[in-house]
């Protein structure tokens, strides 16, 4: 058994980041559903702006965690673990699913607008969330924990 030095005790390491990456995808649809009700379910301007800001933050955070910018606060060893060849492959695959979902949802919206008025806010919200949910769920699926060798 090994212990981490005390000054680093409460800092995240590569393993904890990977564990969070595995756990998060299943909560995302709930987060977006809740934020959608805040943005589109209220008519007050302030509530809509707060909801939009929260949605933008959560979306960017998802992008950062899953399709990522480098996490500079981690040690070089942890950054290398998070950004190894397999992680890059998984990220690329998840992004390709996200782009495919984006185009399919976009096609659906372009066809639907022939019959219903397409509001820009709802169109953007649907495109971003649809693509993000597909990409992140794909990421979660490819990155799911594998059974230990002795199991």
């Amino acid at each position: 058994m090994s212990y981490r030095p005390r000054p680093d005790f409460d800092q995240p390491d590569a393993e904890s980041v990977q564990r969070s990456r595995r756990m998060l995808p299943w909560m995302i649809p709930l987060i977006f559903l809740q934020q959608g009700s805040l943005i589109f379910g209220h008519s007050e301007r302030l509530t809509q702006i707060v909801g939009t800001a929260a949605w933008a933050c959560v979306s960017l955070l998802m992008l950062w965690i899953f399709l990522g910018l480098p996490m500079r606060w981690l040690s070089e060893r942890d950054q290398a673990i998070i950004n190894d060849e397999r992680s890059r492959m998984v990220r690329g695959d998840a992004a390709s699913w996200g782009i495919a979902a984006l185009i399919l949802i976009g096609c659906g919206m372009m066809v639907a607008r022939l019959w219903v008025q397409l509001n820009a806010g709802i169109a953007i919200y649907g495109l971003v969330n649809g693509a993000l949910i597909v990409a992140v769920c794909r990421y979660g699926w490819l990155n799911r924990s594998e059974p230990d060798e002795d199991e």
Binding site: T52, G92, A95, G98, I99, M110, L114, A120, V128
Partner: protein
């Protein structure tokens, strides 16, 4: 004259793809200027046809990027065209394309709070940015790899 071998064919196609993809990305982006002059609720069949053609072109470009192209070539040539470095460049292209699409969408959402944007324009801009960024990135990485090798 002797027939070129499979590897020679693949190399030639690879060079052609590296030249063509960035150019296609720029042409695809430049073409979108014609959509800016289109009225939002236009019912003219020619406008619907234009939108349909744009959607089909987007899907074809993405399919070309996903498969590596050369659809009518022998399987052995396609496999050589789809080597490890090409796959890595493609993954990078996808990640950049996805980031660009999400960034554009969030930017458009903020713009829409102050200056109304139509739903069609929003979908059009976001999808175009995603496809063009992924294509350009992949093409440029392939070009750089060919130049360095």
């Amino acid at each position: 004259m002797t027939q070129p071998s499979i590897s020679e064919k693949a190399e030639r196609l690879n060079k052609r793809r590296a030249r063509a993809l960035p150019a296609l990305g720029v042409i695809f982006l430049a073409q979108q200027a014609s959509f800016l002059s289109m009225p939002e609720r236009s019912a003219r069949p020619v406008d619907q046809l234009k939108i349909g053609a744009w959607l089909i072109l987007s899907i074809v470009l993405l399919a070309g990027l996903a498969t590596g192209g050369a659809w009518f070539r022998p399987r052995a040539v396609r496999e050589l065209l789809n080597d490890e470095s090409t796959r890595a460049h493609r993954q990078v292209g996808y990640v950049y394309g996805f980031w660009a699409a999400m960034g554009t969408a969030l930017g458009l959402y903020i713009v829409n709070l102050f200056e109304p944007v139509s739903g069609r324009e929003a979908v059009h801009i976001i999808v175009t940015v995603a496809v063009a960024t992924a294509l350009l990135n992949f093409g440029l990485l392939e070009r750089r790899a060919l130049r360095d090798s």
